[in-house]
Symmetry: C2
Subunit: 215 residues, 2 copies
Amino acid sequence: MTEAEQDRLTPRQRAVLERALELLVAGGERALTTAGVARAASCSKESLYKWFGDRDGLMAAMIAYQASKVRGFADDGGPMDRERFRAHLVGFAQDLLEVLGGDVSLALNRLAIGQASREKSRLGQLLVAQGRRRVDQSARALLEAGRKRGFIHYTDADEAYRTLYGLIVRDLHVRMLLGEEGARRPEKIAALAERAVKQFFALYGARQKERAETA
Amino acid sequence: MTEAEQDRLTPRQRAVLERALELLVAGGERALTTAGVARAASCSKESLYKWFGDRDGLMAAMIAYQASKVRGFADDGGPMDRERFRAHLVGFAQDLLEVLGGDVSLALNRLAIGQASREKSRLGQLLVAQGRRRVDQSARALLEAGRKRGFIHYTDADEAYRTLYGLIVRDLHVRMLLGEEGARRPEKIAALAERAVKQFFALYGARQKERAETA
DNA sequence: CCTTATCAGTACCGTACGGTACGGTTCTGT
DNA sequence: ACAGAACCGTACCGTACGGTACTGATAAGG
């Protein structure tokens, strides 16, 4: 489902997708039945099939709809000193941890992972990737802004971003997906973000560039 | 299912679990039907229910059985200079990436993640955690050995290990779980491991301890 | 040879789900 | 006011699955 089709959703359809997402969050994929969605959203199954084609189409629409709500982190382009850049990175880390740990995000990732084995309907995985790309690209833009101003140094932007991602998320995402209780600690997010950014600067800060890059 | 019960499995039952794992790898959870397992393993459904109780018990047995095959990385305790320690870390990183990217591991993780939402049968998640704990503990022992010999420095072993994990795995595990093609690149494992260990030494090497620890 | 236990194979049952069809109602445009 | 579309609620159908019961074959033990 393209972005153009996405905008073509009527408010009614958006409301249906919201209810469907609630069902998915509450009960996992097994709770996402067409009859259940129709009942919860007070619409007919016939309308569901008319709007979304089939169950796979409904799931794809749910993912695309949710992805359309995740906005990137805009680079205001204004003056930015080193401390402001660092604060931006910490903010990115916090937002990332909050997004990944959100109920809807976890439920949709579980759904997409569950569908990953089926040859057909790989759309789910692609659409989740589309949702992630927004976050990724804004983060890459942020890194590039810091590099141009000389706060950090790298030769491979992708490598640098993935390292930042690893330092922030570690194994938290998978553990949250597995339902591990200790993994979701919203009160720890600030400290996790600070530590990750500190480590990232230790690796990619302009004064230590030789240590992180040379292979 | 405890380790003692695990050993009580007959060769016949192990063979059935092997076939069940093959089915799961080939077709995901939807392919793991009781009739399908019985047919593939040439046993009766009645025997399946006698041995494993129900479908959840079968899945738990599969996870426990597979976890029993994942061995940790033994610390030979012998003399170890800095280079040997580094080589051990690189070897751990390679093994970790290979295990996480294995077909059976991915299939079982997808299965456990799919079951995570259901209140009942959280066993799957716990047993996967048990399987991971073997890897975790041996890695922690390796780090501790390096710390005692002064090659690295940290105050919180858990923090250090999680950082190492993040540097090695980054977002590869989730992307592999999502079925992303570009994520599974066995030929890249060696380079990934080298880079991760290099970055880990930059953060936790004994000479740069103040940069990684002080918050 | 007889008994007993185990197990493969099959048939069966209840349930739940995806998808379709239809009657009745509300909204919309003319 | 009227025609047509959109849509809700429900009933329905085919299928697939989890779980159980039954039958027949095999093999060990006396």
